[in-house]
Symmetry: C2
């Protein structure tokens, strides 16, 4: 158990931008929202999953919507309170703690706002070990945990509790409600017991985010290469260096989709890397070969500052380094790949672990 | 208190087609669905509103969706059971009875399926005194009763409880959920106390539907003019006789919209009546003048058999009689007209009570 203050959220948000793999919404927004809630309601207690009783009720919370819209319309966090209370009444017992749905993007920090608003602790864990665009893409779902009953709420005071026959149906219903609600909504989902959190979630990931953030800041302060520091602390590999030559993007059915083209420099001069994204970066390939795909993590850093770059902030001319990191081993199983592998996202590419792809190169 | 059997539903459904004013879905479907539920679970008890205790909890139920889709996909009624149970848990007390949301179209009979499935009585009343296309168009809403918390469910087993800041928001959220669910869903909404039912609902309307149905059947058996029998029993006026010359229709955002053109015969020869519909017939006018508009009822009967014709069954060449009837007085107030007057539906026409329009003619 420890106390998270507004300043610690700076480091967590910086780390969340790295594991956000370009998506999950700008962590800066989640940070502003949660820091504002902490100022209003006081610091938040963070528990290790091991500190939970097996029958404690834990309900992760998140913001749902298109990152490009979130830039314009920042939720307050308080919209979730009535929905959380309704869900608690519906489930018939008190919610012990909340949790991050994803360890990347703005949703690694938004639950701190929920925790502060509700006066409950947050668990040092998440359900993805990274960021993903759809709510059925959670490790607990591989073990049969369902997203529903879930609550969804907007800033006007509308909310709903959804109960579905599959997590894919939850995604469908929650997604259209989100669009109705103005393309951004707060959600509370995947009610779990303490035992399920300990067995099925990605543990300690909020502390890992903080560690990544601290490492980047320290490297900058000590004039060491921040990109190399990120690579080291994330156990990643640098797969490309270059300059953003083009970004095609479109917002479709609530998602930010597109392709970034990175003209290679140095050893990659003369070649172009195409990085496909659907909220997150999902596949990196040249004309000749695939370098990395989901569920492994692909992230883009500013070559000078080591600052992670989200897809919505990508601009022509940026000098970037592309980093790939191994995904959670549970995503690499047949069930995991069926849920978040390249095929699920419509890419006709076999999944090969990034370390094997790079060894073969 | 009396018992409604499957045969009584034949008469209720026939009357419901008259007050359905061409919309609300084909009552034949609601009848099949409720008769099948009655066969499986036994007859249903119908109570007068006066038999309710003031603090009884009553929750009307209905089918939501596009009538043109309902023809293809008939709900079973059982999809509502889990949603009703969830709503009961959410409200924290037992639901005493259900009720029809509208006294026209298939939703006058669908609640009998719900009552049979749940083993609860139905109240002899409805919330519109006719059929209307949107769920905020209920008389109790004029008195501040809210549609939420409401339940919505599909035949696959998905359901949701919705809580909104306004009935217009409920309509928006429930409508997109319905589209997601395959354009047809069962809903339970406007939880009311017995006192609210007695004060704000249209009372005795299910018995009126039965009376209309019995009257039409008797006229046919006795070789009297069934059209004249309907006119008499509904206190209506015949505003047009003619032949269907054209029907333009389109299904948009879950509604069946269009215009039927009726070439006049007899005293109307040489003129054409245009009847606009949005699920229901809402306005009847010639090139020269408006004959009737919502909230007054406009219905179309087969000239020979007196059989009411729904918009989806309208075909070129049908010989029809158009009947207009006064709407519930509460719809004729400024608040009522704001909710369901011609302006709400996008028609730039002042509301004048149909009896005044006809007197002026």
């Amino acid at each position: 158990m420890r106390t998270i203050s507004a300043t610690t959220l700076d480091d967590i948000a910086l780390g969340a931008a790295v594991l956000g793999t370009g998506g999950g919404g700008d962590p800066y927004i989640g940070k502003l929202m949660s820091q504002s809630a902490l100022r209003a309601h006081g610091d938040v207690t963070m528990l290790d999953a091991a500190e939970l009783d097996d029958d404690d009720l834990v309900v992760p919370s998140a913001m749902m919507g298109a990152p490009t819209v979130m830039l314009e319309k920042i939720p307050r966090g308080s919209e979730i309170v009535s929905a959380f209370k309704a869900l608690e009444a519906y489930l018939g017992r008190p919610i012990r703690a909340t949790m991050s749905a994803e360890a990347g993007g703005l949703n690694s920090t938004t639950p701190f706002a929920v925790a502060a608003e509700l006066g409950i602790p947050i668990i040092d864990a998440d359900m993805m070990g990274r960021a993903y665009p759809e709510l059925q893409m959670c490790v607990p779902a591989l073990y049969g945990v369902t997203a529903t009953p879930m609550a969804i709420a907007d800033e006007k005071g509308n909310n709903a509790i959804i109960n579905t026959v599959s997590n894919k149906w939850t995604e469908t219903l929650a997604r259209t409600l989100t669009i109705d609600m103005g393309c951004v909504a707060m959600i509370a989902l995947y009610p779990m017991t303490g035992k399920q959190v300990k067995e099925y979630c990605c543990l300690g990931t909020i502390s890992i985010l903080e560690h990544i953030g601290v490492t980047i800041r320290a490297a900058r302060a000590e004039h060491r290469d921040p990109v190399e520091a990120v690579r080291e602390v994330t156990n990643g590999a640098i797969i490309w260096r270059g300059k953003v030559a083009d970004v095609e993007r479109r917002t479709e059915t609530g998602f930010a989709r597109g392709v970034a083209s990175i003209a290679g420099t140095g050893e990659h001069a003369g070649e172009t890397l195409r990085v496909d994204f659907q909220n997150e970066f999902l596949m990196a390939r040249t004309d000749r070969r695939v370098l990395a795909t989901t569920p492994d993590l692909i992230t883009m850093l500013d070559a000078e500052t080591g600052e992670p770059i989200t897809t919505e902030n990508l601009r022509y001319g940026f000098r970037v380094v592309v980093l790939a990191m191994p995904g959670d081993p549970r995503w690499r199983t047949p069930e995991g790949l069926a849920a978040v592998g390249p095929g699920y996202f419509g890419y006709d590419v076999e999944y090969i672990p990034v370390e094997d792809r790079l060894r073969g190169a």
